[in-house]
């Protein structure tokens, strides 16, 4: 597949890593912001390819993980109502609230449906005029244009029986929260490529300048991630700290202006609670008042739901890159994808879940050893 296969090429990967080794003079800690980048790193085993001393820590870029418990409970309260068809992206189905997950609601008779695109909700609403179709509109800025279009079309086409339960979060305030923390160890960032495809990257210039950190907007395929890491390393070794664009085939500094325009007409920026972190001011999108009749939080009786976050798990520290899943005593034992205790294990994109699925409990060194012993091209000489 064009623009995918060539970005998984082992020979090019070796060259990039070779260049990293050539220029590296001291250890560095980098953070990749996006959950999709975390997924790609562990799926392709990229962190095992990096030179000693280049450490990638995983950031809070998983909108599923950071959706507050309270919002999950609101979703469940709505989904279990008799006349509701609750639509969601697949990612959210297994996130546990205070009492089970959306599968549990489904097993009790709730009409819960996976959709690929928010626009599918319009079709479902038209086909089921007697039902209330509610869409769980989560995501970072990447998904905001799609979710905005749903709200916009619902109003334009006067489809009254569709509404959105919005839990959108924004990346720049999260970066600020990480960088302003006294525990922060991160020295450079791989910026979120698809978020920036929508929003552009000009809003990262002041952050880079204020904290003197390089931010390299990076794609998602293995070559992209290695390339973005190399570019960040180059800046760090040269003592520079600016915003650069690795993902130049997809985006430029202004991003997608028509998408931003519609997002601004449908959503307004406001405070948002982040699971494991707490409330970050001006860090999320809310539906504007003129879309109130499509705002599930207003249409359904869920204002009273206020759930407290658990104290135990170290998700918050993992989300901020201060600790890694292996540092948690509960990782893989008391806390597993089947019985997640915290945000980073609930979603397949969370750092803990990604580690569990792809890296399990193995220390990276032993994985290296096995790979190093394997014959490169197949069957070793036997008998």
């Amino acid at each position: 597949m064009k623009y995918l296969d060539e970005y998984r090429d082992g020979d090019v990967a070796k060259k990039i890593v070779g260049e990293m080794r050539r220029i590296q003079t001291r250890p560095w800690i980098l953070m990749e912001v996006c959950g999709g980048q975390t997924h790609s790193i562990v799926k392709h085993g990229i962190d095992h390819l990096l030179p000693e001393g280049v450490e990638l820590v995983h950031g809070p870029g998983c909108p599923v993980c950071v959706t507050p418990l309270e919002m999950i409970d609101k979703a469940h309260a709505i989904a279990q109502q008799r006349d509701v068809i609750f639509c969601s992206f697949g990612d959210m189905l297994r996130v546990p609230g205070s009492d089970g997950d959306l599968f549990t609601i489904k097993s009790r008779g709730g009409d819960v449906r996976v959709v690929y695109s928010p626009l599918d909700c319009l079709k479902i609403a038209r086909a089921n005029p007697a039902k209330q179709v509610v869409f769980f509109a989560i995501g970072f800025e990447t998904t905001a244009p799609a979710n905005a279009m749903l709200a916009w079309r619902a109003r334009e086409e006067q489809i009254e029986n569709v509404s959105l339960l919005v839990s959108h979060v924004l990346v720049p305030p999260a970066l600020e929260a990480i960088l302003s923390s006294p525990d922060n160890r991160v020295q450079g960032f791989l910026g979120p490529g698809h978020v920036c495809a929508v929003m552009g990257y000009r809003e990262y210039d002041p952050i880079s300048a204020r904290y003197h950190v390089p931010i390299v907007v990076t794609g998602f395929e293995p070559i992209d991630i290695l390339h973005g890491t190399l570019m960040t390393l180059q800046q760090l070794e040269q003592g520079r700290a600016v915003v650069e664009n690795q993902y130049s085939r997809v985006l430029g500094p202004d991003g997608n202006v028509p998408a931003q325009n519609l997002v601004r007409r449908v959503f307004v920026v406001g405070d948002r609670k982040w699971r494991g972190i707490g409330t970050i001011p001006m860090s999320g999108f809310h539906l504007r008042d003129e879309f109130a009749q499509h705002d599930a939080e207003k249409l359904f009786d869920v204002a009273e739901i206020a759930t407290l976050e658990p104290e135990i798990c170290i998700s918050g520290e993992i989300l901020r890159g201060i600790k890694k899943p292996h540092d948690c005593p509960a990782f893989g034992t008391l806390c597993t994808p089947q019985r997640p205790l915290g945000a980073t294990m609930v979603s397949a994109e969370g750092a803990c879940a990604a580690y569990y699925a792809y890296g399990r409990h193995l220390k990276p060194e032993s994985l290296h050893q096995i790979a190093a012993q394997a014959p490169a091209n197949g069957v070793a000489a036997h008998g």
Partner: protein, 372 residues
């Protein structure tokens, strides 16, 4: 209640007790064992395994069942028989490349074939939903007739029930099969040994993505058809690989149905107490299946197949077996994808295309399309 001891090596023991409040504060997140059955219990992954381990095995335990192969091997009189059952609940009942009837025949024949048995007889039990079009039933049954003829098996007994509208998804079919295993053939998941080669009989992910292409909201156009087929002919070819020492070089055979190739390989690895190392670049996936998986965020290694097998073969015979497979229409694309290792027993590792290493875990519940 005592706090459970936390140890990094305890990963294989699922904890039965809830942690005490003293350790975990007022945690509102339930550590739940689902009190009700959820769809994930039927997906062939960890939840299914949990159900088997905690509900079915404790009740029915015996040495034959405990082997947990896809079929039971029984010794009756002087004969060794393979005996298996499977239920088919797929929706939609008609899909590109097949239908529920065809699946019901080949699925059970394959479970028999994976023990090296020659499949002989099937039974069929139908649960029909009130309101099902008789023409649809006729179409399904005709499909079963044709599939049975293809496979060289006969339906010798059956049953029919009807349930109220809304209580059944048009039609559910359960087929049970019986076959005979020749002397000298000993194929079982626990026989995998370090050094053995792992062979895949062809392209993975076709069936699951053919079904997915029909699901509301996830539809796509593209020629992905189910690979549904009976594999005993291919297995017979493999067993016929000439060797001086008799037929003991095929150690394991499994058909990677729900949960996909990754789940199946994990099952073998755990049963045999061995590790496995695969090479991503060897694994055959059609462009169309790859495209569909990329778009929906699915992994072909976890997508169901209905006409493929995984074979674990003694290293000195691997290439000869592969050559035999290439002679058969269902094995033309067979390829060696990795080997069994002694390290990390129970774990399946894969060397990725980019040169990294990844652990292939068992699927947890249903694989869901994702946006992240």
């Amino acid at each position: 209640m005592a706090s459970p001891r936390i140890s990094a090596r305890d990963e294989e023991q699922p904890l039965e007790e809830k942690p005490s409040p003293a350790v975990f504060g007022s945690c509102p997140l339930p550590i739940f064992d689902h009190p009700q059955i959820v769809l994930g219990h039927g997906s062939g992954g960890k939840l299914t395994a949990d159900l088997i381990d905690h509900i079915f095995l404790p009740a029915f335990r015996n040495p034959i069942l405990d082997k947990l192969d896809d079929q039971a091997v029984l010794t009756i009189g002087g004969a060794r028989l393979a005996f298996t059952t499977d239920s088919f609940v797929v929706t939609p009942i008609f899909f590109p490349g097949g239908d529920i009837g065809r699946l019901a025949v080949h699925g059970t024949v394959n479970d028999l074939a994976m023990s090296g048995a020659r499949p002989l007889y099937l039974s069929a039990a139908f649960i029909l939903e009130e309101g099902l079009a008789v023409d649809d039933l006729r179409r399904v049954v005709e499909s079963m007739r044709a599939a049975a003829a293809e496979a060289g098996v006969e339906f010798v007994t059956g049953d029919t029930k009807v349930v109220n509208r809304g209580k059944g998804d048009q039609v559910f079919i359960t087929t049970t099969g019986i076959g005979v295993i020749e002397n000298g053939v000993h194929i079982s998941a626990d026989r995998a040994r370090p050094g053995d080669q792992i062979i895949l009989s062809g392209f993975i992910g076709d069936h699951g993505m053919a079904i997915m292409s029909q699901r509301e909201g996830l539809e796509f156009e593209g020629a992905i058809a189910s690979d549904c087929a009976s594999l005993h002919g291919l297995v017979a070819n493999m067993l016929a690989t000439s060797t001086a020492d008799g037929v003991d070089f095929i150690h394991c055979l499994r058909d990677p149905t729900r949960g996909g190739a990754a789940t199946t390989l994990n099952e073998i690895a755990k049963r045999a107490g061995v590790g496995m190392l695969l090479r991503e670049q060897s694994i055959p996936v059609r462009e169309s299946v790859k495209g569909a998986c990329e778009v929906l965020g699915l992994d072909p290694l976890y997508v169901a197949n209905e006409g493929k097998l995984v074979a674990v073969v003694a290293p000195e015979m691997a290439h000869a077996v592969l050559a035999q497979m290439h002679q058969h229409p269902l094995g033309q694309d067979a390829v060696i994808v990795g080997e069994v290792i002694a390290e990390h027993p129970g774990m399946v590792l894969m060397k990725t295309a980019i040169g990294g290493t990844r652990v292939l875990d068992v699927m947890f519940g249903e694989q869901l399309p994702r946006i992240c």
